[in-house]
Symmetry: C2
C-alpha cells in the first residue's frame, strides 16, 4: 500500500516545471504535489492495492492543498486503487458526522449534494470513545467503505498512553482493540474480514500477535515498514484471516528509493513497491 506524503522539500526532480504561473507559494506547491503524486501512483500503483494520502501534508497548503488532494484521489481511484484518507480525525456528534462526510460519504445539503473526498477508508482516532467512531462507521457502510481505528501506533510516544496498564487488565490499546472487534463483529463478510479495521504499527511485531487474538476479523493497516524500522518479514500474524488481512504501508521507502538505488525515481519506486508486494504476498501465502 502506497503512502502519499508529499514533502515540499522532497519532491521528485522535475517538479519545478509543473509550477507554471501559480499565484501563490501554496498554489505552486499544490501543482507540484499533484504532479509528484500522480507520477508515484503511475509508477508504484500497479504493485499496490491502495494509496494512503497523509492529509496533514496537503492541509499545509490550505485550500490549494485540499484541491490537490481531491485531484490525487481522483487519479488513484481512476487507476483502480483503494483510497485510504489518513487524517486520524476524532470528534463527536455533528462534528464527527461532518468529518465522515468530508472524507467518506459526502452529505446532502440545501445547496445540493456535497461530494466530500469519497475515500474508501479513513483512519480514525478513538480517544473520545465509541461516539467518535460510530459516525464514521455509519458513513463508511453507506458508501461501501470502511474505517481503520488507531489501536497501537508505531511511534515511541505510544508508550505514554496506549501502553498504560489498566486497573482491570491489559493495556489501554488492548481495550481499544476490544471495542474495534465489537464494532466490526456484526459485519464480518465472506472474506472473514469486517469493515472496522485497526492501525497496528509494524515496528513492534510482539504486539501484532496479541492484536490479532483480540481482533480476529479486523483488517490491519501496518505502518512503520521501511524508514521507521519495521520489516515485512515480521508481519505474519496480520495475515492470519487471509491475504487481505494486512495492508502493509510504505511511503518514504518507495518514493525515496531512487536516492539509494540511483536511476529514475519512477523505476526505483516501482522496483521497491514490487519487492514489498512480493515479500508480503509470499508471507501471507505461507501463513494461510
Amino acid at each position: 500500500m502506497l503512502g502519499l506524503d508529499p514533502d515540499p522539500r522532497g519532491l521528485w526532480p522535475g517538479y519545478e516545471e509543473q509550477v507554471g504561473d501559480a499565484s501563490s507559494p501554496a498554489e505552486a506547491a499544490a501543482s507540484a504535489f499533484v504532479w509528484h503524486c500522480k507520477a508515484l501512483i503511475d509508477a508504484a500503483g500497479p504493485a499496490c492495492v491502495a494509496v494512503k494520502p497523509q492529509l496533514a501534508r496537503f492541509e499545509l497548503l490550505g485550500a490549494a492543498g485540499w484541491a490537490a488532494l481531491e485531484a490525487v484521489i481522483a487519479h488513484a481511484a481512476g487507476s483502480g486503487l483503494l483510497v485510504i484518507a489518513d487524517g486520524k480525525r476524532g470528534d463527536i456528534d455533528v462534528s464527527a458526522q461532518a468529518y465522515a462526510g468530508a472524507l467518506l460519504g459526502g452529505a446532502d445539503s440545501p445547496f445540493g449534494r456535497l461530494d466530500g473526498l469519497r475515500a474508501d477508508l479513513a483512519t480514525v482516532n478513538p480517544l473520545m470513545g465509541s461516539d467518535a467512531i460510530e459516525p464514521f462507521i455509519g458513513a463508511a457502510r453507506e458508501a461501501g467503505g470502511g474505517v481503520l481505528v488507531l489501536v497501537r501506533t508505531s511511534n515511541p510516544g505510544a508508550a505514554d498512553f496506549e501502553d498504560l496498564p489498566l486497573a482491570d487488565s491489559g493495556a489501554m490499546w488492548e481495550r481499544i482493540a476490544m471495542l474495534v472487534d465489537g464494532l466490526g463483529a456484526a459485519r464480518v463478510g465472506e472474506s472473514g474480514l469486517s469493515d472496522v479495521g485497526a492501525v497496528v504499527g509494524a515496528t513492534e511485531p510482539r504486539h501484532l500477535e496479541r492484536a490479532r487474538e483480540l481482533m480476529g476479523s479486523a483488517p490491519f493497516l501496518l505502518p512503520g515498514v521501511g524508514v521507521q524500522g519495521g520489516r515485512v518479514e515480521d508481519l505474519a500474524p496480520a495475515f492470519a484471516p487471509g491475504r487481505a488481512g494486512g495492508l502493509v504501508s510504505a511511503s518514504r521507502s518507495i518514493a525515496g528509493a531512487y536516492q539509494a538505488a540511483g536511476g529514475e525515481p519512477a523505476v526505483a519506486a516501482r522496483a521497491e513497491a514490487e519487492r514489498l508486494r512480493k515479500t508480503a504476498w509470499e508471507l501471507s501465502g505461507r501463513v494461510r
Copy 2:
C-alpha cells in the same frame, strides 16, 4: 468564546442571497458559511475574547470550505479576536509538523513561505503520546500562540477510554493531565498561565476541580455549555489561576438564540453572548 460550527441546514436567514453564481454546491455553501460566520462574529464578537472554528464543518466543503475557513479566520483576527483552530489533530513526526504548520505557524518551502491558517491556538489529540503534542507546542511557541490538549471531553464516550482506571493510580485522563502540566511547566508566564492548555468538558463539574489540581497553570477550554447541558455557574475551579484561566465555549446556544428568543438573529446572539460573558466574569471575579 464563540464557537463557529456552520451547519448547511442551520444558517441564519438571508444566506440564500449570498450564494450568487457559485459553480458547485460546495462553493455555494462556502459563500453562505462566510456570510453567516462574519455576521455572527460582528454580532457576538464584542462580548467574546476568541472564536473557535470547528474544522470539520469547513472540511465538509472541501477546498471551497478551506478557503471559507481562511476568510472567516481573517475576519475574526481583524476584529481583534483570538482564533482557536478546533481540529483535534493528532499525528507524529513530519505529519505532526505539517499539521502544526497548517494550523498555527506556516512553514518555509522551496516555493516560498506557506502561511497556514495562522490561528493563535489549536486543539490537539494526545492519544499517540508526547511526540504527537510537542511539534504543535514548538510551532505555537514560535508563533506566540498555544495548544489546547484534549484531557477530559464532554461526551458520553469519554467513559470508554478517558475515564478508565489505570493499574498505577488515577484515570487515563488524569495521566494526560499530568503530561499537559509537565509540558507547560517551563513556560508559565507572569499571568500564572502556561501556553499548554487543556480541553475539559463543562458537562461534568466534578472533573474540573481535579483537573485544576493536576494542571495548576493550564488555561482550560470549557466546551459543553448550553446545548450539551453544562452551566457556566459550575465552572468556578477553572478560574482559580485568574480570569483568563477558563475559556467558556458556546456555539449553538449563541448562533441559535433567536430561535428561542425571537427577533433578529444578530440581536439575540449578542444578548446571549453578553449574558454568558457577564456570568463568567462575575464568577471568575468571585473566585479571585
